[in-house]
Symmetry: C2
Subunit: 227 residues, 2 copies
């Protein structure tokens, strides 16, 4: 499903060269459940952003479903981003002037549903993360963990074939975090592919495979013996 | 040092009443090290914002160092916020157009140092969180965990007598998180008072006392037998 070769991302700042990604090779098959771990600054979010078609690499290739992403038109890319991929951002990226409900409806604007069905699906997605009583709140009227859950609800509302989640439980207490992991498990059981960045060992324990990054490269890639 | 009685914070949204804090009593002595835990939405950040003099309660009292905070002038409050208290926000709150260095210098603008000394102190603070090679980066040129560390460096640069940290390790890998906890431990050993909100048990384990919140109230308040 996902095939990455020699992926490189370089930032130039004055005389400095920062290799955020320094030659990454990675294959992810359909219905895999992969956890990505590694030190702060090791390139995890950079990799996720490229996987999510939100950023382009400096060099290297990314094939998604057999298609070279670098060859896709903007129209095709937008289609992939909105229908195939659900993305939970490390910094949530909610629209501040919109309610939780409208934020979660956003990815559905590309589907063929009428507004009533969209609203119902968004409400359902918020209920699944325990936010039924917060749907009219704007982001600044929500707690940190509630904002994180709105970001998760938005990523899941489209029932995406690929879920990319960057530190999805960083602001959640243990019980709420368990509920979110259960949601991801359901998605995985239904056949979807999940890639999750996490620094928490008990979150990574749910994955079937653990990839460790360091200084923009993959340091190790092992199967999880007891998921 | 900190004495809170019947602290209440109510939000009215249309016909709804949300009790973010619902009658909180809390005493924190000088040089205590307290961890606050509790479910997402239980009122932890709301309590921290009031403790940090960044927000006012709807009812109840807050005495800081024997002075009623509600009676302080804006001038006195600004002084307390900038000289006495270091605050690590759950959502970092960095200034996007400023570099990491300038963001960390900010609290020092109230001190009597000249710009050279300010710059040196800000640089030192960034070095202590492992960001010596990122001081010229702006927030959008930093990883999530690097932004979190800039927020921590800014909170510590003034050597505050009270450190209030809201989920300071939510985006940090285990090793970086350990380094941050070591910094807090040094601060505590030097006599400072620390209140930290966290959902991670091994972070709370460093504290000497654990307060649990639920639905805007304190559910339990116990000493940590093995800090
Ligand atoms: N401006 C606001 N208007 C309405 N409700 C609000 C507002 N700000 C916060 N709330 C509500 O107050 C409650 C407490 O929020 P708070 O941010 O203190 O929770 P928290 O314990 O820090 O949660 P988390 O662990 O998710 O960060 C939440 O249910 C939130 O929805
Ligand atoms: N626009 C940019 N300009 C310069 N350097 C950048 C830029 N964006 C990211 N970086 C650098 O690239 C490196 C990798 O960043 P990335 O966000 O992928 O790390 P990460 O593994 O997600 O870290 P964390 O666990 O802290 O979230 C970091 O050292 C960061 O400072
Ligand atoms: Mg990241
Ligand atoms: Mg909070």
């Amino acid at each position: 499903l996902i095939s990455i070769r020699n992926l490189t991302k370089i930032y130039r700042m004055g005389s400095e060269t920062i290799r955020a990604l320094d030659g990454v090779d990675l294959d992810v098959d359909r219905n895999e459940y992969v956890a990505i771990m590694g030190a702060s600054g090791s390139g995890k979010s950079t990799l996720m952003n490229i996987l999510g078609c939100l950023d382009k690499p400096t060099a290297g290739s990314y094939e998604l479903n057999g298609n070279l992403v670098s060859r896709m038109s903007n129209y095709e890319l937008a289609g992939v981003r909105n229908r195939e991929i659900g993305f939970v951002f490390q910094t949530f990226e909610l629209l501040p002037r919109w309610t939780a409900l409208r934020n979660v409806e956003m990815p559905l604007l590309y589907a063929r549903d009428g507004w009533r069905r969209r609203r119902a699906r968004a409400r359902e997605s918020l209920e699944r993360v325990g936010l039924a009583n917060r749907i009219t709140h704007k982001p600044n009227q929500l707690s940190g963990g509630q904002r994180q859950r709105v970001a998760i609800a938005r990523a899941l509302v489209n029932n995406p074939s690929i879920l990319l989640a960057d530190e999805p439980t960083g602001n959640l207490d243990t019980r709420t975090s368990d509920e979110v992991m259960r949601l991801f498990e359901n998605l995985h059981a239904a056949g979807q592919t999940i890639v999750i960045v996490t620094h928490e060992a008990d979150v990574a324990a749910h994955a079937r495979r653990i990839v460790r990054m360091r200084d923009g490269r993959i340091q190790s890639d092992t199967l999880n013996p007891n998921p």
